[in-house]
Symmetry: C2
Subunit: 362 residues, 2 copies
């Protein structure tokens, strides 16, 4: 009997490719003939070293990283990066620019300030509840980096193009859209992404960091909070989160070998998002909450005519095996997260359901 | 066809109960009828909340914790705790005592010093390569805590009884013997344990902390490095390492419901360790490296007459489906890690092999 599988629109942890889950399941008691589970092999064994080396190589290929970039898999999620970035890079009078586009940007800003670092919020879309991505921003010429959140999971907005910051490197929280589309990584000094949205399960955070930023590290940081601790030891200064890295490795393999790379993934993601946004544009019943030019291809946020109807919508969707459609508890409404692993079929099924629901309740 | 399974003597990540692995495998694509993998459900869903609440309840029952204790599941392993403990508790002129019993104690001491904290190493067994646990230690009366490593994975020693520190609470790294035996937790201010040795897979660290210590936290720590950030939000300030917590929950359930609790586990662990130590005591071929009164019931370290024989021993054991017997790269020799999940049958199989190997090569 095949297992029950719903259409999963969770914001994170979120859907993973079913073929990846099946591969994990099939080798869970005996990983590659080792006679051990992947959860039981030593992180310093040939079995795990192949996993992590393959994951690093795939990240480098997918993002077209040159030799200046180091790839590490850390613990603590994006929230730990909010602290590590200013702790590592903002010392000796150095400052940074931050753009505030929602809940997670706000947290990153708050953390840098809590640590007494000198940062400047150069743009914010808070005036309209973060419904848009700011334009025409004046960046500081002497900033060490410019911090942005590439996709705003809660508010449903996304940078369509990354801002021009001249010679100042971008630092980006890409937790919710990493590997969803190609982009020019050479403009970034550091990219970080909690895996649990678009590249794996919870418990690991991808960090890609350029060597010029690593040189700014002060000497007296806690060992685990220094990037070089991890970049110089291939993420194995201490025991890494092996299972999460292994799952991410399989997702990256799926992305390269089954999907065919980031260009192809981007085309599929555009198609999926268009199905939903076209519905909003043609409907009086569903209203997208993000400005059109700032719409996220990953998290589609919308409202119905009333909160009662939203409740009914979420309940009926759930009864029809569509899960995760409730908006974030801080904003309410509805949200369909349609990351890489959410299939076109799942989105089409949702759109059919939404059309029928609007007809019945409109 | 049943999967190949070896006798796993890894030091960590290490053996897990096969029944736990089978349960994970069986529900990996559809967790409790959710239609999602445990890696795909939201950490704020009823499915995961049941997992983490059950894990917390089992930790409290197994360690007989009273209401002063909070249980949290953190990221970063024991290495992050080496920094968090002094950062949270050693401010405003407070000091702590540390006992140095090996590699991990040394790292904890080094980290506290790196952070500029005032600590005193009140005892050390470094004079004889950490082959014993120090006795008759004079502790400082005004220390905020006394830090110990309850079991030394690399050196193969273990505190048989915990030292009397008067009114000063113990803080212990129990990464490699948590849940291996009953003990009086009320003497501890904080207990921490990277899960990957005796309670689950890599990627999560158990922290049990008493409320009087939590009151010592300063205000300006990075949010993720404050214990109250995690204890006040049931380990869900941000997305926790869900899969690792879920696996730990199943291991704790196995410990309570299949094994029957810590007393029964301790009896089994004593029996397993005795099989190996009795062999050393009767043999000229195998030599245990730890003093008799300091022997670890978890990590049995030993030498053979020559390094050539050790190499041959490890290779032949591996060919006979016994893995993980190589000593830590920093000390050489051999080591059999026989944590909770390593069965009596596995240890008996190893002892039979060791007897035969000694006869052939002695």
């Amino acid at each position: 009997m095949s297992p029950k599988r719903i259409h999963n629109f969770n914001a994170g942890p979120a859907a993973l490719p079913q073929s990846v889950l099946e591969e994990i399941q099939s080798e869970f008691l005996d990983f590659k003939g080792s006679g051990m589970s992947i959860t039981e092999v030593s992180h310093r064994s040939k079995w795990f070293e192949e996993v992590i080396n393959d994951a690093v190589a795939r990240v480098k290929r997918l993002l077209k990283l040159d030799d200046r970039y180091k790839v590490a898999f850390l613990q603590g999620g994006a929230s730990m990066q909010f602290a590590m970035i200013p702790m590592n890079f903002l010392n000796d009078g150095r400052t940074a620019d931050y753009v505030n586009t929602g809940t997670w940007s706000t947290k990153a800003i708050k953390e840098a300030k809590l640590l007494g670092k000198s940062i400047k919020v150069v743009a914010s879309s808070e005036d309209r509840n973060f419904a848009y991505i700011p334009k025409n921003i004046s960046f500081s010429k002497d900033a060490t980096y410019v911090h942005i959140t590439s996709n705003n999971t809660i508010k449903g907005t996304q940078w369509a193009q990354f801002p021009d910051t001249g010679n100042v490197p971008l630092v980006a929280d890409m937790s919710s859209d990493i590997f969803s589309r190609p982009f020019d990584a050479s403009r970034f000094g550091l990219i970080y992404a909690g895996a649990q949205k678009n590249m794996g399960p919870a418990g690991v955070c991808l960090v890609v960091v350029r060597d010029d930023l690593l040189k700014l590290e002060p000497g007296n940081l806690p060992t685990m909070l220094k990037y070089t601790t991890h970049t110089e030891q291939n993420s194995m200064y201490n025991t890494p989160p092996c299972f999460s890295i292994y799952t991410a490795q399989l997702v990256l393999k799926w992305l390269e070998e089954t999907v065919g790379g980031l260009e192809k993934m981007a085309t599929i993601n555009q198609k999926k998002a268009a199905l939903l946004y076209n519905l909003f544009d043609q409907s009086d019943f569903y209203r997208g909450t993000a400005d059109k030019d700032s719409r996220s291809l990953m998290n589609v946020t919308f409202r119905l005519p009333s909160e009662e109807l939203e409740k009914k919508f979420i309940a009926e969707a759930s009864a029809n095996d569509m899960g995760g459609l409730k908006g974030h508890r801080s904003v309410g409404g509805c949200r369909a997260s349609i990351y890489n692993a959410t299939s076109e079929k799942s989105v089409a099924t949702l759109v059919d359901f939404m059309n029928a629901f609007a007809k019945k309740n409109g």
